[in-house]
Subunit: 167 residues, 2 copies
């Protein structure tokens, strides 16, 4: 049976590397960078910059909460693709620092997520299956969709396999 | 540690119920249904109808392959939201029929996915973590993005928690 580590860190790592690959292709596309960063699927949805930031944070905070690792705050100050790729690199480094053993025995641990007007209760396991994985892929996929909508030459294999997946 | 069943069937079931909830809201939105069904994020991406069909198939085929359940072919003939919701219902029924015990011991089983010009090799576990979950959420999220882009009144909690999540 997979461990909680195996259903979080390697999945996040793989997808964030692929997201970095997508942003690299975006940077090389010649498409106006500001228009990419500000792209939204609808006027009341978040732009590309925030999609990447939240994807990073969802992965990072899942590890912080489940493995009880030291929090590593990251300010949302990125203003270009290079800085977003650096945010991804810092998130990948944080994931890489997480010890698999720190996830052991956290399956039934109570984890409470607090929001301004509510809270959600999870176990270590359900945080990953019911919130972190769906939310993480929501933001990575939306980032992909925004780049594709703006004409960046990427395809499904870039999403699934990144730089190792051909086109 | 979670079982392979726990990192597939309940996750797919939850997200497909939420997707059904999104389509129900779409049907009640008063927005021209044909324009929703044909919506694409870019001209060379698949329309909403195909996003829903592939989300269903990704979940269904993951279970077929990992749990070695009887295949249940479903033709891609849906032409309206009601039929797409029926496709989701039939997929949910298939997932519900899968016995948790059928996933046991399939972690390292070799599973080969064949494409017209290539093949991908997985284990039972890596099929779920490296392909099925990312691909499934790709299509569910893209369906959400298309509905949102077209003005259907849905929000993030509809994606994460469906009918039980308020707005």
């Amino acid at each position: 049976m997979p461990t909680l580590y195996e259903i979080s860190v390697p999945i996040f790592t793989r997808a964030l590397r692929n997201l970095d690959h997508l942003l690299e292709k975006a940077a090389g596309s010649g498409i106006d960078e500001q228009s990419l960063l500000e792209a939204r699927l609808s006027p009341d949805m978040l732009p590309l910059t925030r999609q990447v930031q939240i994807a990073c944070d969802t992965a990072k905070l899942a590890v912080t909460r489940v493995a009880q690792t030291e929090p590593r705050p990251m300010e949302d100050t990125e203003t270009n693709l290079t800085e977003l790729r650096d945010r991804i690199a810092r998130t990948l480094a944080y994931l890489n620092d997480a010890a698999p053993a720190a996830f052991d025995g956290r399956e039934t641990a109570e984890i409470i997520m607090k929001f301004p007007n509510s809270e959600m209760k999870f176990t270590g396991q359900s945080l990953l299956t019911d919130f972190s994985l769906p939310n993480f892929f929501f933001h990575v996929t939306t980032a992909y969709g925004l780049l594709r909508m703006k004409g960046v030459p990427i395809g499904k294999m870039d999403f699934l396999a990144g730089g190792s997946g051909g086109s």
